[in-house]
């Protein structure tokens, strides 16, 4: 139980350290250095250290299954495997908030240690803004969601972790995603500080670019992991559901992607300064906004695991404070921004980056409005509506066509002024070739729709242009080419996946067969066995395909003991061309099972292409470091 106290007091100490750091930085800014002679770096380190201690204490409580702690009691169980005892720590609201704080203080420390090239003033202002955020979150942790609350009398057994969270990928999904979310706070603080000091220039841009890249890579990775998890665990065979919580993670990502491009213009052309600042602010605000929407429980989603109006209210208040603060600072210091009134040439790289930002902002607005509009409508007129995949598909997909075309043309243009468009004719001929190619692809399926045709053409255009650039001699921007290629591969896989997916759903009992496009699915038998904290029923299926090969599929139904929940574990056979996906669900009449068999082409390429997008970011990050 001692760790309960250690953890509790450590968070309180770091709350006070937060005040101390704030005061120390403030005095140093005002040149009252001689008043206190404590090293700021040490203070910042100790703040991180005490949060770390508190994190470790909670970890030990989880590992020892000490149910006197209410968080452990609610989310753990003695029979749970060790790995999930650890991940149980952040599989709940209180623990995940502590993880959030751990990463927040860590990035704060890293920023302070790594930003030596920047002026002292800029670093101090950044630290001050960081402390406001850290202070806000520690107060939130201590007063509304303290992970170290006790329960008495001490229960003998815990309630267990939600079984769908007991999964290796979902165990590492929150830390990765949080690394992305939280490092946007540095971007936010640094942008405000350089706004105050009036040094939003290309020098600052190349400094902050590394932080942007870093959080962009982690955010992409976190979203990817979540998507993979949803694919095999939720058992519907989809990978993106336009679920509110997914949307919320996508919004900061889009804003960050826009920033990633826009910051290049600031770096190379010293232009778009105010727009960059707005994007820095909006990215972080969207991250906090996400936390608010998820934690308050006002969203109806599969992911909402904690909801409490008090918490929602606090975060809402905090969110308004941050927005208000940044707006005030923005309008006070706006004149310090060097605003160039020079207009961009039409056929330049910067104009295409602007167009990229324009489309990204449109996508962002669609997702933002689609996610929060139903909430407002319900409050105002008591009318409940659902905004689901059809809405997003209708508004986003058509705009992808011009987006992809600009994306293919932009990177090959020069800054400031391009020497005409070289080989204008080649580009047009190339486009027409792609048009024919997509026509024949669609024709071979026998389903030529103008809209799909254009989308496929635009995408193949990007696909081949990036390949051409990759093979070209001379200077190459590998990171850009790889990321853009990854994006075109992603869209291509998604299109082909949507067109070629096949599925069959039927209720079968043991011994029955099911025919499906020259395949024969035989339900051979069921086996039962016991896992560490669940019983499982394994359905053994044999699928004969047209080539005469037969494969064994063994989807599972798991019955977890604590809490008692039934989950379906899909059985997936992955190959480079397609995934074969079989999932069974129990139905009331126990002799029958609901069997869903899907063939999903190019599934693995959706994951690989996202990895390529990330790889591009990593290359850029490593190149910049030198």
């Amino acid at each position: 139980m001692i760790f309960n106290y250690i953890g509790n007091y450590s968070t309180i100490i770091s709350l006070f350290l937060s005040l101390a750091i704030f005061l120390r930085s403030f005095l140093k800014l005002k040149n009252f250095d001689q008043l206190i002679k404590i090293d700021l770096k040490k203070l910042i380190f100790f703040q991180f250290f005490f949060i770390f201690v508190s994190f470790i204490s909670l970890l030990i409580l989880f590992l020892n299954s000490e149910f006197g702690n209410i968080t452990v009691y609610n989310n753990s169980h003695t029979t749970k495997p060790l790995f999930y005892k650890v991940s149980g720590l952040w599989g709940n609201h209180e623990g995940s908030l502590l993880l959030w704080l751990l990463i927040l203080t860590l990035t704060n420390f890293l920023y302070f240690s790594l930003s030596l090239s920047r002026t002292t003033k800029e670093r101090l202002f950044t630290v001050i803004f960081q402390q406001i955020i850290i202070f806000g979150f520690i107060v939130f942790l201590i007063f509304t969601s303290n992970p170290f609350n006790e329960i008495f009398p001490i229960p003998k057994e815990g309630l267990g972790l939600n079984p769908i969270l007991q999964d290796p990928i979902l165990a590492i999904h929150p830390p990765i995603l949080y690394l992305g979310y939280v490092s946007t706070s540095i971007i936010f603080s640094s942008s405000l500080s350089s706004l105050i000091l009036g040094n939003v220039n290309s020098d600052w841009a190349s400094h902050i670019k590394n932080w942007i890249l870093c959080s962009w890579i982690f955010l992409t990775g976190g979203i990817l992991l979540g998507s993979i998890w949803a694919y095999y665990e939720l058992g519907w065979g989809g990978f993106w559901f336009w679920d509110p919580v997914e949307n919320i993670s996508l919004m900061p990502w889009i804003s960050l992607t826009a920033l990633l491009h826009c910051i290049l213009v600031l770096e190379k052309r010293s232009s778009l300064a105010s727009w960059s600042i707005i994007l820095c602010i909006s990215t972080f605000t969207l991250s906090v906004c996400g936390t608010f929407l998820v934690r308050s429980g006002i969203l109806n989603s599969v992911h909402t695991f904690a909801n409490d109006p008090e918490r929602g209210l606090y975060i809402l208040f905090f969110l308004f404070f941050i927005i208000f603060l940044s707006l005030v600072i923005y309008f006070f210091y706006e004149e310090k921004l060097s605003i160039s009134n020079k207009s961009f040439g039409l056929i330049t790289k910067e104009s295409h980056i602007l167009i990229n930002n324009w489309f990204l902002m449109y996508f962002l607005s669609v997702i933002l409005i689609g996610t929060i509009y139903p909430i407002f409508l319900e409050v105002i007129s008591n009318q409940r509506i659902s905004v689901g995949p059809p809405f997003f598909n209708k508004l986003i997909i058509p705009f992808l066509i011009p987006f992809l075309i600009f994306m293919s043309l932009g990177p090959n243009l020069g800054w400031i002024k391009s020497k005409k468009i070289e080989k204008k004719l080649t580009l047009i001929v190339f486009f027409i070739v792609n048009l024919f190619l997509s026509f024949f692809i669609l024709k071979s399926i026998g389903d030529v729709k103008l809209f799909t045709l254009l989308l496929l053409t635009a995408n193949l255009y990007l696909f081949f242009i990036t390949i051409k650039d990759f093979l070209k001699k001379g200077y190459k921007n590998y990171s850009q080419i790889i990321s853009h290629f990854g994006f075109s591969l992603l869209i291509l896989s998604i299109i082909l996946n949507a067109i070629f997916s096949k599925e069959i759903i039927a209720n079968l009992k043991v011994g029955e067969e099911l025919g499906f496009e020259n395949n024969k699915i035989t339900f051979q038998r069921i086996e039962t066995s016991t896992g560490p904290n669940f019983e499982k029923i394994v359905g053994v299926f044999i699928i004969h395909d047209q080539k005469g090969e037969s494969n064994k599929f063994m989807p599972e139904i798991r019955i977890y003991n604590k809490p008692e929940v039934i989950t379906s574990e899909a059985f997936i056979k992955t190959s480079i061309f397609k995934d074969r996906f079989l999932v069974i669900n129990p139905i009331k009449d126990k002799t029958y099972f609901n069997v869903r068999y899907q063939e999903k082409p190019l599934m693995i390429w959706i994951w690989i292409s996202t990895l390529l997008i990330m790889l591009g970011g990593c290359i850029k990050f490593l190149k910049n470091e030198k």
Binding site: S301, F344, L346, I369, S386, G388, P389, F391
Partner: protein, 123 residues
């Protein structure tokens, strides 16, 4: 005897084909299922869900389609029974003008700003 065995075989085959026959949903049915929210699940469509509610919704949709209702009629029918909440694709009406319109408005405003920056629209 031979005739009898053929007859028996035929019956067995027929029986087998019966077990083969699964009422595979048509494309239209799937489209409708994907657009209906399963009201007892957390953010799942009827298509994705295997709950009793979703299964009975599927039966209702099939029955209505057979009785000659169009896709739109079915949405209307579902809305009358369960409210607008049940449809994932919100219809354009007084409550949703802004939902459908705002993104386009943003797009146009953004476009105007960019055209000015590019020097196409002179002040």
């Amino acid at each position: 005897m031979k005739k009898l065995s053929i007859f028996l075989m035929l019956i067995i085959c027929l029986n087998n084909t019966y077990s083969f026959a699964v009422d595979k949903p048509t494309e239209l049915e799937n489209k409708i299922f994907k657009n209906l929210r399963c009201l007892i699940c957390q953010g799942q469509s009827v298509y994705d869900s295997q709950s009793d509610f979703a299964e009975s919704m599927k039966i209702v949709v099939r029955k209505n389609l057979k009785s000659g209702m169009s896709e739109k009629d079915i949405y209307q029918f579902m809305r009358n029974n369960y409210g607008e909440w049940v449809l994932y694709d919100p219809e354009i009406n007084k409550g949703t003008y802004l939902l459908w319109g705002l993104p386009f408005l943003f797009f146009l405003i953004g476009g105007a700003i960019i055209l000015r920056k590019l020097g196409v629209l002179k002040r």
